[in-house]
Amino acid sequence: MEPLSIEGTAKTPTVKFDAQEGVIEIKGRSIPENSIEFYKPLVEWLEEYSTSPLELTQVNVQLEYFNTSSSKCILDVFKKLEAIHKGKNEVIINWYYEEDDEDMLEAGEDYESIIRVPFKMIEIVE
């Protein structure tokens, strides 16, 4: 399966999805006016990946900012991961936040309470 690689912009994050390594990465800013368009290929990629996932999928989410339009799309991404986890393959979501960013930590905890996948909250200390 081909990896998915998207270069980040001022309003959209850098994306690296690698099926061989089982590593899913979303980094940067996610603040587009309409996020559905941006996240569609991500959700589709995961849909395909979920048909034959690795035993362990590691997810790294390191966002500086994300808007409420993105928050729903990120939930869609996590729901795909939840389906993989339900299928008896291990998934871990590493949620990164900067040390003073309580809002970002809380956002991670919101997802953790909705999605049945183990989360690891990782503080980035500068």
Binding site: A10, E33, N67, S71, K72, D103, E106
Partner: protein, 186 residues
């Protein structure tokens, strides 16, 4: 006397203003505003926690405008585009103030009032629950709006949403929303 948007804008645009804008709210405009405000906060050497809050709340405020402005009184259409809005970001008495304004049809006024009044009565915990409920149960609109903007703003600022409606004519009202972010963490 009917509401004068230019006069209203001049009144807002005073004091320690980081940016003031009146006109068409496009995706490019939003990018430019964010860039300007980010660099202005760098000039102030603003604390990163405050900087992030202001940035986040500004994104939601601008995109709220972007998604919801679709009416303009005919008498203003000669001068302005349909996506007409105003924005002023300023510093007032140890707070950042983000003011946005746009026209709404009169039949929307009660709906908006009720929605904001309800948000303003909610505790931090209730806002969190409401946010999670909408996040998990409501679909995004075709335009990409999710109905989460105001709840998110209230949650992140910890302050009540300050609003006013000004009658323009029988069909239209001007909707002004002021959002405050404290310098000191709550």
């Amino acid at each position: 006397m009917s509401f004068d948007v230019n006069e209203y804008y001049s009144k807002l645009n005073g004091g320690d203003v980081l940016i003031a804008y009146k006109g068409n709210v496009s995706s490019e405009l939003i990018s430019n505003v964010l860039e300007v405000v980010e660099s202005r906060m760098d000039d102030y050497s603003e604390d990163s926690k405050i900087r992030k809050k202001v940035y986040n709340v500004l994104v939601e405020s601008l995109q709220n405008l972007y998604h919801h402005i679709d009416v303009l009184p005919p008498s203003m259409q000669k001068e302005y585009d349909e996506k007409f809005g105003i924005l002023v970001v300023s510093r007032v008495q140890s707070k950042y103030k983000i003011s946005t304004g746009n026209f709404v049809t009169t039949d929307r006024v009660d709906f908006l009032k009720n929605k904001i009044d309800k948000i303003n009565t909610m505790s931090k915990e209730e806002l969190k629950d409401m946010y999670k409920f909408i996040l998990n149960h409501q679909r995004l609109s075709d335009k990409g709006g999710g109905g989460l903007g105001l709840v998110d703003i209230a949650r992140k600022t910890g302050n009540a949403l300050d609003y006013s409606f000004h009658k323009y004519d029988d069909k239209y009202h001007f909707f002004n929303l002021d959002v405050y972010i404290d310098f000191e963490k709550k």
